[in-house]
């Protein structure tokens, strides 16, 4: 059974997401039965699966929630805000239980007990009749055997029940003597071959419990006349007989009322779901490792292709166009290149998922927070179909949740304050996503109070981040909120304001090669803009030559390239060299010495310097030459070799050589550790010679 657990967990988490979203979608005054049905089905599947796969605790808990939903579905129970809230909490609890099971953690027994109690209180409040499964009573007493009178109703065959199978099953219980009663068999002309006319008197010898016999006829007890009597009667089993006959009575009556309501509901249901489903595209579930393997292989293919392309180009120029074969080869290679590019793009797209996977967490968050904070908030989501890499998506979820929490806690005001400020009572939070170049941009903006610059500045002054009399530009002040240890909430709440949030947000976003900015207008609102690379598998790189080696600098981290003028260089303490770039000093890093390539003791004058930025710090890297810019497939150095500081990965170039990709923040860090006396930036400009631009 183990092999099905992974699938079970995945689909259950999906089911929980569905439950959560649909619960939030429920319009309390006017509930859509299909929505409740969808929620019910998700709960039902989780319950069924967890029972089957042995997760009894989950199954028991979900059963209670399912019962509640079942009553809502049947219209016995009104859909109240209270019930929805309790169900939402149940979703959280079930999710917690499943996470604990799938990841081997501990279940929160208190939360489970509390949730279960909540559900049960709600269930009992309605005081609906508790259904008791009508299990067949276990007949007791030892007997020599049974006499069974079995007469199927004419239409029994039409449910696929074959009397022969039942007699065979009885034969497995003990010695059987079967007498067939053909008295009802009509003349051949009147006989309907689809009806059953026969009856049987069966004598079953052996110590068989009555329950075992009843089990054989379990499915047909409303489709036949059945009388079971012990061969030598033990007195206590006698009264059983009328009971079994009676049992068939209500059981047969029950379906009548369900069937009257079922057809009325069914067509409408089918219609709405069909309409809903048609928009979705079919999908298959594939392990991410398989996709990554394909991506890797395609990466290799791209490299092989560019090698072939290079060789083909060389041959072509050597032999010219006279050779007809050559021309064909070049054509073929061009086609190969096109196909390879397309293949690579398609494969990359497999890993891409719509950002709605992250956005879908937000409505629930807002629902919970706005009631906790007594604020009214509308959520407007646009661009939720914008796609990005799954790995990037996994990293962006938590930072986004944090930003939304912040917007609700600090940004959007209470209804009273909003009205006082001349705004509508309900605040609006916008989530927007779109593609821009090779990046995805996510905007989170609210129409709340905006950032309080005064407060941020005071706090920053108190922390010594800004000098007493200094008045930095607005952007600088806004950016201070990403500084560790700066929280301006007047009172710390459990929603946000622990002061360790925003710097972590920035750190996490940077970790996947992205950036986050904030802009704000006091009294009007604030906007956070997150920019992320679409994928972590390829990168736009600037190829540079250092000695005989080729290195790659990620294009995003390059600010400019220029030719060094020696009068702009200051050597500090004879060790670190600083370059005066316009109004700031940046450390000079000689790539030759970092990577021990060739002689690093050269004069800086007229050397080529690439100005890079990483983690907010700038530096100038001295290289020998700038080569092509190209998209490269990132290969992990860690998995193939080991982690090397200053290097984030490697790639294979068209000519088959390996090129290392620079980890710009890492190199700047290394340099700082190496040469500590770096003056704090920014240094005030002295107005003299502005550095020249180049490249």
């Amino acid at each position: 059974m183990q092999q099905f657990h992974q699938t079970f967990f995945e689909e259950s988490f999906e089911g929980l997401d569905i439950m959560e979203n649909e619960l939030l979608n429920l319009d309390l005054g006017n509930t859509d039965n299909e929505v409740i049905n969808t929620i019910f089905r998700a709960a039902h599947s989780i319950k069924g699966g967890s029972g089957t796969f042995g997760f009894t605790a989950v199954s028991e808990f979900t059963h209670v929630a399912e019962t509640l939903l079942d009553e809502m579905r049947d219209g016995i129970r009104p859909v109240t805000q209270e019930a929805v809230d309790i169900l939402l909490r149940s979703v959280d609890i079930i999710r917690g239980m499943l996470s604990a099971l799938s990841e081997g953690g501990e279940m929160d027994a208190d939360a489970i007990a509390k949730g279960q109690a909540e559900l049960e209180t709600l269930l009992n409040a309605g005081d609906t009749a508790v259904e008791t499964p009508s299990d067949a009573e276990q007949a007791s007493g030892s007997v020599d055997g049974w006499q069974i009178e079995f007469k199927p109703h004419p239409e029994m065959l039409k449910t696929g029940n074959d009397p022969v199978r039942m007699i065979k099953a009885l034969a497995e219980l003990g010695e059987l003597d079967v007498q067939t009663d053909v008295s009802d068999l009509p003349a051949l002309l009147d006989l309907n071959p689809e009806d059953s006319y026969l009856g049987w008197t069966i004598t079953l010898k052996g110590d068989v419990a009555e329950a075992e016999i009843l089990e054989v006829f379990e499915w047909v007890d409303d489709e036949c006349d059945l009388a079971i009597s012990p061969l030598n009667a033990a007195p206590e089993t006698k009264p059983e007989q009328p009971e079994t006959a009676e049992q068939a009575g209500p059981a047969a009556a029950a379906p009548v009322d369900t069937s009257t309501q079922a057809p009325a509901k069914e067509p409408a249901k089918a219609a709405t779901t069909a309409a809903k489903k048609s928009g979705e595209s079919a999908s298959i579930r594939v392990g991410i490792d398989k996709v990554d393997e394909i991506i890797n292989l395609v990466g290799e293919l791209v490299i092989t292709q560019s090698m072939l392309g290079q060789i083909g180009g060389e041959l072509d120029s050597e032999q010219g166009h006279e050779n007809h074969q050559m021309e064909k080869l070049v054509e073929g290679l061009a086609q190969l290149e096109r196909n390879t590019r397309e293949l690579q793009e398609s494969v990359m797209r497999i890993r891409m998922l719509p950002i709605s996977f992250v956005f879908s967490r937000i409505p629930r968050l807002i629902h919970d927070l706005s009631s906790k904070l007594d604020k009214k908030v509308d959520l407007v989501v646009t661009g939720e179909n914008t796609e990005l890499d799954k790995t990037v998506m996994e990293k962006i979820g938590d930072p986004m949740v944090h930003l939304v929490r912040n917007a609700l806690d600090h940004g959007i005001e209470t209804p009273e304050r909003r009205v006082a400020a001349g705004k509508s009572e309900t605040g609006t939070l916008n989530l927007n996503a779109y593609h821009k170049g090779g990046n995805i941009v996510i905007e989170i903006f609210d129409d709340g109070a905006g950032l309080n610059k005064e407060k941020i500045l005071n706090k920053a002054r108190a922390n010594g981040l800004v000098g007493e009399n200094e008045v930095p530009p607005d952007d600088f002040i806004n950016d201070l909120i990403f500084h560790p240890g700066l929280s301006t909430a007047e009172t710390l709440s459990d929603v946000s304001g622990r002061g360790v949030g925003m710097d972590v947000v920035r750190k996490n976003i940077k970790a996947v090669g992205g950036s986050v900015r904030v802009s704000s207008t006091e009294g009007k609102g604030a906007m956070f803009t997150i920019q992320l690379p679409l994928t972590l598998a390829i990168l736009d790189g600037q190829l540079v030559r250092v000695g005989d080696e080729t290195y790659i600098i990620p294009l995003v981290s390059i600010i400019e390239s220029l030719q060094v003028k020696s009068e702009q260089v200051n050597a500090v303490a004879g060790k670190a060299e600083l370059y005066k770039l316009r109004d700031e000093y940046i450390p000079v890093i000689r790539a030759h010495s970092v990577f021990a390539v060739g002689d690093a003791n050269y004069s800086l004058n007229d050397r080529l310097m690439v100005v890079v930025e990483g983690d907010g710090a700038k530096a100038g890297i001295i290289v020998d030459d700038l080569l092509a810019q190209q998209q490269v497939v990132i290969k992990s150095l860690e998995t193939n070799y080991r982690s090397v500081s200053g290097i984030s990965g490697a790639t294979i170039l068209g000519d088959g050589t390996v090129a290392l990709i620079l980890d710009v923040p890492g190199i700047i860090d290394m340099f700082r550790g190496d040469a500590n006396p770096v003056p704090p930036a920014p240094i005030k400009p002295d107005g003299s010679n502005i550095a020249e631009q180049a490249a």
């Binding site: 089957t52 199954s59 059963h63 696929g160 069914e266 779901t273 489903k277």
Partner: protein, 120 residues
């Protein structure tokens, strides 16, 4: 060997049912809801249909009714997968023409025993 059509919207249940039945040598075809099952059932014949009840698009009860209306499935055993709590669902299944039911949760042995019971 007997061919079985297994219908369930839950992939894990479907996998479990198929794995168990295939292991016992049955020829199993999967469907993820009633609609898909009905399509498949029209193109190929089966000795047994096992269907979940609560499914999107077309539930097991409707599927059962639709199958019974097709000549080749007039007498084919159809088993529904139900939970103990839904006595009325069992009966609704029967009313629609189902042969019988398998109570969830079940383990592979119980499943095989029930399948053997109807396939003989």
């Amino acid at each position: 060997m007997a061919s079985i059509l297994a219908v369930d919207d839950s992939a894990s249940m479907r996998q479990m049912v198929c794995f168990t039945l295939k292991g016992a040598g049955y020829d199993v075809t999967e469907a993820k809801d009633g609609q898909e099952a009905l399509q498949i059932a029209k193109s190929k014949s089966f000795n047994l249909v096992i269907t979940d009840i609560n499914m999107p698009n077309m539930d097991g009860i409707t599927l059962t009714k639709e199958l019974r209306a097709l000549a080749p499935y007039k007498f084919t055993p159809i088993l529904t997968l139900t939970t103990e709590s839904s006595q009325e669902k069992k009966m609704a299944g029967k009313q629609a023409g189902a042969t019988g039911w398998i109570v969830k949760p079940f383990n592979p042995d119980q499943l095989l025993a029930t399948v053997k019971k109807v396939l003989g």
